[in-house]
């Protein structure tokens, strides 16, 4: 027994030493080159001196040797109940990489981190994993607004830009709130001020309802979206909200939440939440007396393949509505992007709404790298981090797949078209869009 103990102790010490060497060695070789001591006296291709550019930049440069790939990271929800949302965006990014080929003479490598959705802490974990790797240039993420909040301070400290394809919570781009993402945060998704107003318009004008109830799950996304809807519903057509309930993420029995809501027999029930709570509420609402004539409506958080798999048949039968980004982008979306998506993913079609937004986010980063990157005589590419952020912040009239994008001073870059869909033959089919209004 003692012998074993001694051997395992030695083994543990060896392993620790090895681990220490690895991380120590890595840091030693990366840091000086990434920060100050760029190779001396070399002229960039554009005539600029890389070391001067990097010295002048507040966060220094990321250095890519000739023949190496430029590494960007995605921090999306790629495991668990909401993985359809994150995988969908990753497909968009991968298609952007394939379409682009090379950026500034380098290939692009995507590092996929899992930022989760339900647990805010996993956003921070993903961000820490990303900043620990000094070769990463920028980040595309997160899937859920909740995880972006703790991720942003970590990334901003390291001077890394994050562009989200699917965060929609208004607070992320509102400097008066604690959740504000700061100067390094951008998004190609719309702000839910737009989605909430569009849903209210749809409820007032298309459905003609005057009473509604909402359910959220305590996440910034759901809580703020339903609040925008409630405010707009009152403003646009004097609609009355009978109750604003909330649930716990992870619960499964929601009939006890639906019972008190059903007392007022609201004409519309809007629950902008996620899987698997969204499908469960859809199914359980069928059992609750008082909700027989209530129209159910969800949002982009559940408008994915996971919902179709679990409650798609019920949603189709009752004609449930889903708000989300307008996906009738036109342009090359139908002709080039969708076939590439089907081939890459092996699915019949998009599994969630935010693939094109991921595609645009990736391309904006590639453009920025090409615009601010400086090459020296040996072919090493230097990418100044703060200059990269400034380029994206100044983005104007960018012709993206999702529309014409212009970033405002708080990081909102997204096109603002919202659609409403229903399930038809087991697929989402858009029936209304703000584009036509």
């Amino acid at each position: 027994m003692q012998k074993y103990m001694r051997w395992s102790a030695i083994l543990v010490v060896l392993m620790l030493a090895l681990a220490a060497c690895q991380s120590g060695g890595g840091a030693a070789s990366e840091e000086p080159s990434a920060e100050e001591s760029a190779p001396p006296a070399s002229e960039g291709a554009g005539g600029e001196d890389p070391s001067a550019v990097c010295d002048a930049d507040e966060f220094g440069c990321v250095e890519v040797l000739e023949g190496d790939s430029i590494r960007i990271a995605s921090a999306l929800s790629i495991t668990g109940d909401t993985s359809f949302l994150g995988n969908d965006s990753n497909f968009g990014i991968e298609i952007a990489i394939a379409d682009r080929g090379e950026v500034a003479g380098h290939e692009i490598e995507l590092v996929k981190e899992d930022a989760g959705c339900g647990d805010a802490a996993s956003g921070q974990t993903a961000a820490q994993a990303i900043v620990a790797d000094p070769t990463i240039v920028s980040v595309i993420g997160t899937t859920c607004s909740r995880t972006a909040v703790p991720a942003m301070p970590v990334l901003a400290d390291a001077g890394l830009v994050m562009i989200s394809p699917s965060n929609t919570a208004p607070s992320l781009t509102n400097p008066e709130t604690e959740d504000f993402g700061g100067p390094f945060y951008f998004r190609t998704a719309y702000n839910d001020r737009v989605q909430g107003a569009a849903v209210a318009k749809f409820a007032c004008e298309e459905l003609g309802v005057t009473t509604a109830a909402t359910i959220h799950d305590g996440s910034p996304y759901a809580e703020q979206l339903q609040q925008v809807f409630v405010d707009q519903f009152a403003e646009q057509c004097d609609g009355t909200t009978t109750s604003q309930e909330a649930i716990n993420v992870g619960d499964t029995e929601f009939r006890s939440v639906l019972e008190p809501i059903a007392v007022d027999e609201p004409e519309l029930l809007y629950f902008p939440i996620f899987d698997p709570e969204g499908p469960l509420i859809t199914q359980q609402a069928q059992d609750v007396a008082g909700l027989e004539n209530t129209i159910l409506m969800g949002s982009d958080g559940i408008k994915d393949q996971g919902f179709l798999d679990t409650a798609g048949d019920v949603a189709e039968e009752i004609g449930m509505y889903f708000s989300g980004p307008d996906l009738s982008f036109g342009g090359t979306y139908e002709s080039d992007f969708l076939p590439a998506y089907v081939e890459l993913s092996g699915e019949d079609g998009p599994i969630a709404p935010y693939h094109a937004h991921g595609y645009d986010a990736a391309n904006i980063i590639f453009d920025a790298i090409e615009a601010v990157g400086v090459e020296d005589a040996e072919g090493t590419l230097f990418i100044p981090k703060d200059a990269l952020r400034e380029y994206i912040a100044g983005l104007t009239d960018y012709a993206g797949l999702t529309g014409t994008l212009t970033c405002d001073e708080n990081g909102d870059c997204g096109a603002e078209d919202v659609s409403v869909a229903q399930v038809v033959d087991g697929e989402y089919s858009e029936i209304w869009t703000t584009r036509d209004q």
Partner: protein, 348 residues
């Protein structure tokens, strides 16, 4: 006066707490009921929901309590035993539903699904005992606890690796759609089935423990392992039986849970596991009737509590605070009855 003088500070605080709790409960209930938002029908629905949910908790809680009874350890992997049964049976149910067999022969089909779930959960529970706990039987009590946490992670992540991490939709049974009218009270068929099955299983268990030889051996081992061994009881076999019974009940609970909520996934054992453990503690861990009572009261508390106690007090979205209400009750019960509703002080 002399008596009052002997009241210690702790007792004064406890009495203060008791009075505060009673005032809070009465005030919240009064406010809710006088507001009159929910009516008799709705309260009845909420109670039935609670009983159905509580029956599932009770079935899982029995596994915790039985194992604690014989081994004085908390088998934290029990939630995953529950999940394993539901997940394995999903494939059988899905295959049977695919061919239309399940809806054509609902009773036979359900029996097969239930049997598969119960057997696979039992298998996992027995293996768990043999591999993870038996070698540590004489180790300090903290060691098997840590092992249990490890085993829990091992089982859930194995299932994640084997079966994938997506939520799987359980087939719906036509026979369980809609609701029954029992004495004028409408009850959803799934809920009726859950409650009836749970009650039948619990009655069988009670009979088994109280009336059979093996049950008597289990009780003897839980009293005193060494003496039981001297009396000619095979302790190892009795412990294995205990784990097997816990597994059987958990497997059945898994199918019931899946039929009510219509979906299963690899992480589904976690929350019900925690809740059932809470229920076992609430009822008095080690006590079989206590686990049943604890499960039912926790279920009802969760569904009725927030609506009854908080909505009248003007708390916005009270149902978000469901767990707060349930666990506050647990804390209060443990303050005033440290051994749970039916538990008895530990003598060892």
């Amino acid at each position: 006066m002399a008596r009052a003088g002997r009241l210690s500070l702790v007792e004064i605080i406890l009495w203060g707490l008791r009075i505060a709790v009673v005032i809070g409960v009465v005030a919240g209930t009064w406010a809710t009921l006088s507001a009159g938002r929910l009516e008799g029908d709705q309260w009845r629905t909420l109670v039935i929901l609670g009983i159905a949910q509580g029956s599932v908790y009770a079935l899982i809680a029995l596994g915790y309590t039985l194992v604690y009874g014989v081994l004085l350890m908390i088998n934290f992997a029990h939630g995953d035993v529950f999940m394993f049964g539901a997940m394995t049976a999903f494939f059988v149910a899905d295959a049977l539903a695919g061919g239309g067999f399940l809806n054509a022969n609902p009773f036979l089909g359900l029996a097969v699904v239930l049997l598969v779930a119960m057997l696979s959960s039992t298998l996992v529970a027995v293996l768990l005992e043999r591999i993870a706990y038996r070698p540590l039987r004489r180790a300090p009590r903290l060691v098997p606890l840590i092992t249990a946490v490890g085993a829990s992670l091992f089982i859930s992540n194995s299932v994640r690796g084997l079966y994938g991490e997506q939520v799987k939709a359980y087939p719906r049974l036509d026979i369980l759609e809609g609701s029954l009218d029992i004495l004028g009270i409408p009850i959803l068929k799934t809920q009726a089935m859950v409650i009836v099955s749970a009650v039948v299983l619990m009655l069988i268990l009670y009979w088994f423990v109280e009336r059979t030889r093996t049950g008597r051996a289990m009780r003897a081992v839980s009293e005193d392992k060494d003496t039981a061994a001297l009396m000619g009881i095979n302790v190892d076999r009795t412990i294995t039986t205990t784990f097997a019974i816990g597994g059987l009940l958990a497997g059945a609970a898994g199918v019931l849970y899946a039929l009510v909520f219509g979906q299963v996934h690899w992480f589904m054992g976690f929350l019900p596991g925690i809740k059932a453990f809470t229920a076992a503690v609430l009822g008095g861990i080690g006590n079989i009737v206590g686990a049943m009572l604890g499960g039912l009261s926790l279920g009802v508390l969760e569904q009725v509590g927030p609506n009854l106690l908080l909505s009248g007090a003007g708390v916005p979205s009270p149902n978000q605070l469901r767990d707060v209400v349930a666990f506050s009750v647990l804390v209060l019960v443990l303050i005033f009855r440290p051994y749970g509703i039916l538990g008895r002080p530990e003598t060892r």
